[in-house]
């Protein structure tokens, strides 16, 4: 095929026929945005087209931008190319982007996960000829347990800390992970306090989704009132003086990387809970099969390994370098990737 419908350029994934970029990493005129994480929705584009739930999120992050919201399955056409957004199940408002031209269908997954997290609109496979997939956790070593089990562990951890008179500090990315945690915390154990970065995002999400009650930590918050309760904080707060007020406390991180014993130790948190907003190995394989795609392009994550495996299974698979950072950005978000 001489001119692929979607091409990888130095600015991002480009549909030349429509003059539109998908999740570009450099400023462009017209961008379709899969979701609100910083590596997928960057600053400086002329127009942002995204799911209606993602509009308040990126406006909160990027300020005054020219944005248009569309609903699931609603299609719009640009120079003969038909675009539509479909739930990706990654975080609230996260979409896969379907692109169709003269009967040829491509889907860009953005970030996605297959399980229902009880918060985001669950992932739906979309039939296509070519599928651009993330593979952040594209290794057979990644196998997620059902989230009920993980939340049972998290709530047990909280209850145990409470019984010892300690504050529980749970680190999770401000957008998506924090709200997913919040939704499943057992508030019969205690109150949930939030770091300002998370509470600001909660306020945005609450405009379209109900979330349990939280209390924002401010300068006035007293150490004694926190004791035994749970504090949701962004990973960038780890090791910062902000934590001093919480002593005595126990820390934990919720991330897919916590599957590796070494990751938790290097992260220097007391507990690691394996909880990811990306697909595990089986999730990736099932979704690819469900799309029916014969051509697969693997982006961020273990893309070389994953695409080799797909090729051995008989698919036309290859790797493209992008500037998406996957959950690594969530782990190391002290460097500006964090939403504040």
């Amino acid at each position: 095929m001489e001119n692929p419908l979607l091409a990888f350029t130095d600015k991002g994934i480009y549909c030349e026929q429509a003059g539109v970029y998908l999740d570009p990493w450099k400023p462009v005129d017209k961008a379709i945005i899969s979701h609100g994480h910083a590596d997928h929705s960057r600053w400086g584009h002329g127009r942002y087209i995204t799911h209606e739930r993602n509009v308040p999120i990126i406006e909160h992050r990027l300020g005054n931008i020219h944005s248009t919201g569309v609903s699931w399955g609603e299609s719009f056409t640009v120079n003969g190319v038909r675009f539509s957004l479909h739930p990706a199940g990654h975080i609230p408002g996260s979409s896969q982007i379907r692109v169709e031209y003269k009967g040829e269908v491509w889907v860009f997954s953005g970030d996605y996960k297959t399980g229902d997290d009880g918060l985001s609109t669950p992932y739906e496979p979309v039939r296509c000829h070519a599928f651009i997939t993330e593979c952040t956790f594209g290794l057979p070593a990644f196998k997620w347990r059902p989230q009920e089990e993980v939340f049972r562990d998290i709530n047990e951890w909280w209850a145990e800390n409470r019984s010892e008179g300690k504050t529980s500090i749970l680190f999770g990315y401000s957008l998506g992970k924090a709200q997913r945690l919040l939704k499943h915390l057992d508030t019969s154990i205690g109150k949930v306090y939030t770091h300002a970065a998370i509470e600001n995002m909660n306020e945005v999400i609450r405009t379209f989704l109900p979330l349990p009650e939280t209390s924002r930590i401010t300068k006035e918050t007293q150490r004694d009132e926190l004791r035994g309760h749970l504090v949701l904080a962004p990973p960038s707060a780890h090791g910062s003086p902000w934590l001093r007020k919480m002593v005595p406390y126990e820390t934990a991180t919720a991330s897919g990387w916590m599957a590796f014993r070494g990751a938790r130790r290097r992260r220097a948190v007391d507990r690691g809970f394996v909880l990811s907003d990306h697909c595990d190995w089986a999730g990736l394989l099932e979704s690819i099969e469900a799309t029916g795609a014969t051509r697969v392009i693997c982006t961020h994550g273990y893309s070389d390994i994953f695409s080799r495996f797909l090729r051995e299974k008989g698919l036309d698979a290859r790797t493209e370098e992008t500037q998406y950072e996957g959950e690594l950005a969530e782990m190391n978000s002290t460097e500006g990737a964090e939403i504040t």
């Binding site: 290794l139 057979p140 690691g272």
Partner: protein
């Protein structure tokens, strides 16, 4: 097995020493005696010899998990630990419930079984265990439990559970005992042990001095000696036998037959603390030389001749059958000197005395430390004259004061993915130095690998650069455009025939990223060779 796996999970899921000790103590309170003995054995690295080799384990794991072998290997490379990779990749159900001791009773004779029997046993247990049980089970086969539980923490927990003094326990648990035959009663509880014959004392270890030595107070209260770069050991003379123990609590008598010569000169009831050093051509060799001896179980005559070893004596822990550890260091030294001085001049006796030095000013200590490389030591040990010989790593009386590392500016040439959290990042680097070939061409020759020393932010920057500047890929390794210069630090270096550069470096690590330097300004191989002492 469930309880033991649960214990390992708990130890694994905290960084807090107090929580670890509590978990271990409550395990010791509840476990059966046989499980306790095995737990002590495993946590002090006394595992049974490997019943199945790892090549087979890898093969079976990829088969059971239904993934191609290369994919299993890639996963192993990224996870970084074989037992953990197997536990992650294979899925199992909780069906098998048997005590730790029973699993070991079954694993030990497995060594002699046929490959098929081995496979059936191992696979059945992989599939019948939960994640942590599978991890622990595989670790029992492969060995190497590294879960942040030192001998010291284990002893403290056991002391908490039994009420027996920590130092006494440390002494009881040392040496050569077999978890297969010894009972918990004999190992831990019994008061009068008869077979203490070969037992070493727990080693006293020093922390690194981080402050200025001036903060140690009056220099006249201190002695310095060189810190030799060999194997810290205790040599024990009891009952007309010699026993050599390494710091890792391994009985290594057979590896160093030289020391049996000392039996003629040193009486029973003597324990010397010292450093085993290579001594080729009648002078101290490099650690590289010693490595040739460390690897061998039995030593050939030729090797004995080529690289003989000596004991550089530091301290006397037992004399005439009496434990001297509570006496002041100065007193112990005097006795050691009386013992050693007549023997040292005879070059056929492999015993030397590490000299102690006292100085009036701290600046004199510093000047002596600056001579360390020339003397082939790693720096100085500072010991308080009145210090007892303590148990384990303790602050205050003894300090190691190493020389500053050697450094050189080198060019990044290859990169490999890191492990664990860093597995998405290229953080394992290979560095080259300039060399001029016979045709007058300048080329970069690999001289060291390093994977530590940069901040996470720097690693991410280098990683992003590597991904954009890859020349070639060789499996997990990428060659990159020579562009970045890093200052590499290392503890020492020695000529080596095995390295293309002709030089082996010890403990190389990245000191800093020299963004101010171009690759032309990096050092040459000749610069490096000039640093060889």
């Amino acid at each position: 097995m469930k309880d033991f796996a649960q214990l390992i999970r708990k130890l694994d899921s905290t960084n807090k020493t107090s929580v670890k000790v509590k978990a271990l103590a409550s395990y010791f309170n509840l476990a059966s005696d046989r499980d306790k003995v095995w737990t002590i054995a495993i946590l002090s690295h006394r595992r049974p010899s490997r019943p199945v080799n790892t090549t087979l384990l890898r093969q079976w794991a990829s088969e059971v998990a239904g993934v191609p072998h290369w994919l299993f290997e890639e996963s192993y490379h990224i996870v970084g630990d074989l037992a953990e990779t197997i536990a992650l990749v294979v899925s199992g159900k909780k069906e098998i419930d048997k005590p730790l001791a029973q699993v070991l009773d079954e694993l030990i004779p497995l060594k002699k079984r046929s490959e098929e029997e081995k496979k059936n046993y191992v696979v059945e247990h992989w599939l019948g265990f939960s994640f942590y049980e599978r991890f622990v089970f595989t670790k029992l086969i492969t060995g190497g439990f590294r879960i942040g539980i030192s001998q010291k923490l284990m002893t403290r927990s056991l002391s908490l559970a039994t009420g027996i003094d920590e130092d006494i326990l440390a002494y009881k648990l040392m040496g050569d005992w077999d978890p297969n035959t010894i009972s918990f009663q004999e190992l831990v509880l019994e008061k009068n042990k008869t077979d203490l014959l070969s037992k070493p004392y727990p080693f006293y270890l020093a922390y690194a001095l981080e402050d200025e030595p001036e903060n140690l107070g009056d220099p006249s209260e201190w002695l310095a000696e060189h810190k030799w770069d060999g194997i810290r050991s205790q040599v024990i003379f009891r009952n007309d036998e010699v026993f050599v123990w390494s710091r890792g609590e391994e009985l290594v008598t057979d590896k160093y037959p030289e020391f049996s010569l000392l039996l003629e000169h040193i009486p029973n009831g003597t324990v010397i603390d010292g450093e085993i050093l290579p001594y080729p051509k009648n002078s101290i060799g490099t650690f590289n030389d010693l490595q040739k001896r460390i690897g061998r179980k039995t030593v050939s005559k030729a090797l004995l001749k080529k690289i003989p070893v000596i004991l550089m004596a530091y301290d006397l822990l037992e004399w005439e059958g009496v434990d001297l550890r509570e006496q002041p260091f100065e007193e112990r030294r005097k006795k050691l000197e009386v013992l050693a001085e007549p023997l040292v001049p005879d070059s056929s006796i492999p015993l030397y005395l590490s000299g102690t030095m006292g100085f009036e000013h701290w600046s004199d200590f510093a000047a002596e430390r600056d001579r360390a490389r020339e003397k082939k030591s790693e720096g100085l040990m500072l010991k308080r004259k009145d210090s007892p010989y303590r148990v384990g790593r303790k602050k205050g009386d003894w300090w190691k004061w190493k020389v500053d590392p050697l450094t050189i500016d080198a060019v990044l040439t290859y990169a490999m993915r890191g492990h664990g959290r860093r597995s998405n990042l290229f953080t394992d680097y290979t560095f080259g130095l300039w060399n001029t070939t016979e045709d007058g061409e300048r080329e970069l020759v690999t001289f060291a690998k390093a994977y530590s020393g940069l901040t996470d932010a720097e690693f991410r920057k280098v990683d992003a650069w590597i991904k954009k500047n890859t020349l070639e890929r060789f499996g997990p390794v990428r060659s990159v455009t020579p562009y970045h210069v890093f200052e590499i630090a290392f503890e020492g270096l020695a000529p080596s025939g095995r390295h293309k550069s002709g030089v082996a470096t010890r403990f190389p690590r990245i000191l800093r990223w020299r963004t101010d330097k171009s690759i032309e300004e990096a050092n040459t191989l000749d610069d490096l060779k000039k640093l060889i002492p």
